[in-house]
Point group: C3
Chain length 161, copies 3
């Protein structure tokens, strides 16, 4: 096989590996959140990555992202019983950068059973660095009819940041 053919196979393989890595990274978010693993969860982001949670503001850097998990609100949710379940991701790959769109649903255990406590739109921005694919920014906004939340799910709308 000449080099050209090899390069072509390797390039196709690389695309699949990239998509697999990105999907796996995002798939690990919910299990890490609901097992309270703030350190592994924060390490999904680049050291200076950011996470904007709607009206709750933006966490900047791994320390602040980890604090979302170790903080009072999340710990209280975990004590009640909670599940951060993501929907399937639509990934747009562009070399060393990617974005992904998906829903997320937070279920909460209550005295009368489980409720869908928060249903949101998500847009993930990712980049490939020396440590592989990591999140550079995540936007999450409640789907309560807000047009800005809906726009996060659209591939034709560029992120504001």
């Amino acid at each position: 096989m000449n080099n050209e053919i090899f390069d072509s196979l390797a390039a196709r393989l690389q695309v699949l590996e990239d998509r697999e890595a990105i999907r796996s990274l995002i798939a690990s978010y919910g299990p890490l959140a609901d097992s309270g693993d703030a350190e592994r969860l924060a390490a999904l982001w680049q050291p200076d990555g950011t996470y904007a949670v709607g009206a709750m503001g933006e966490a900047r850097g791994r320390e602040q992202i980890a604090a979302l998990i170790t903080g009072r609100i999340h710990q209280s949710l975990m004590a009640q019983g909670c599940a951060h379940v993501l929907g399937p991701v639509a990934i747009a790959l562009a070399g060393d950068y990617a974005s992904a769109r998906c829903h997320s649903v937070v279920f909460r255990h209550t005295e009368t059973g489980f409720e869908a406590f928060r249903v949101s739109a998500n847009r993930w921005e990712l980049a490939r660095g020396p440590d592989g694919w990591q999140v550079t920014h995540r936007d999450n906004a409640v789907l309560d009819g807000d047009a800005a939340a809906q726009a996060l799910l659209n591939p034709g709308v560029q992120p504001a940041s």
Copy 2:
């Protein structure tokens, strides 16, 4: 490497690419629906593709499929706040044709929070054409105990159409 070995690698790669394309296509349905992008959503189907939504009848062709998104029912849902969240897809690939089975859940925002408004079984039929993989037919039926809805989820049951 001789041609036989190259062909073998390329064929294995092609299967993974096909499965990735089909999963990505289906994963993009929900985000497009909830951002109201009727045009991109309809383009997931072949020009003469169909979408049967239980007792609500069948949309035939992209124009009618787009009308499901621009129509009053879906626009009202979006104004309230909604999320069309799909479950993981079980894909059966056969050359240029494929079928996929999955659940879908429509969450609706109400005055008292979110509710799982509609929980359904889905079977997608897809074909590879000049523009890549597209949907030829989708069946969706509410999982309210109806045996026909349950059968959509089974790989041993052939579609009626």
Copy 3:
């Protein structure tokens, strides 16, 4: 192409195929459960595979796993209308063995609509045998605040069994 380069491409392909096979296997669980296909569902496990369902005890071997589907509780759920929807899986692959972590949500149709009846943590243990990847053990536990259920979702916690 020399053998070394071929082996490298083939090994990368194999990893992607393994991850695809595992994800597909797990993705087929819900559709098989909700179409009542006890035989195909049990065949996802190795002949002596096990399935521990929290306080409900452990099913050992395919016959007992199939009985979870043909049994009174599941049949009653299906008659009402139900959906076993899994979240995205975080897969850890190690040669011929793998584990996967994900959420699962059981929706139930009631007189007033659908409810999230059971929201659980899942850890799947899998092995590659002569018939390909199969489940050796699955743990499922309700996320009601129980620390043991939460631990199932964490990659750093080894299974007790």
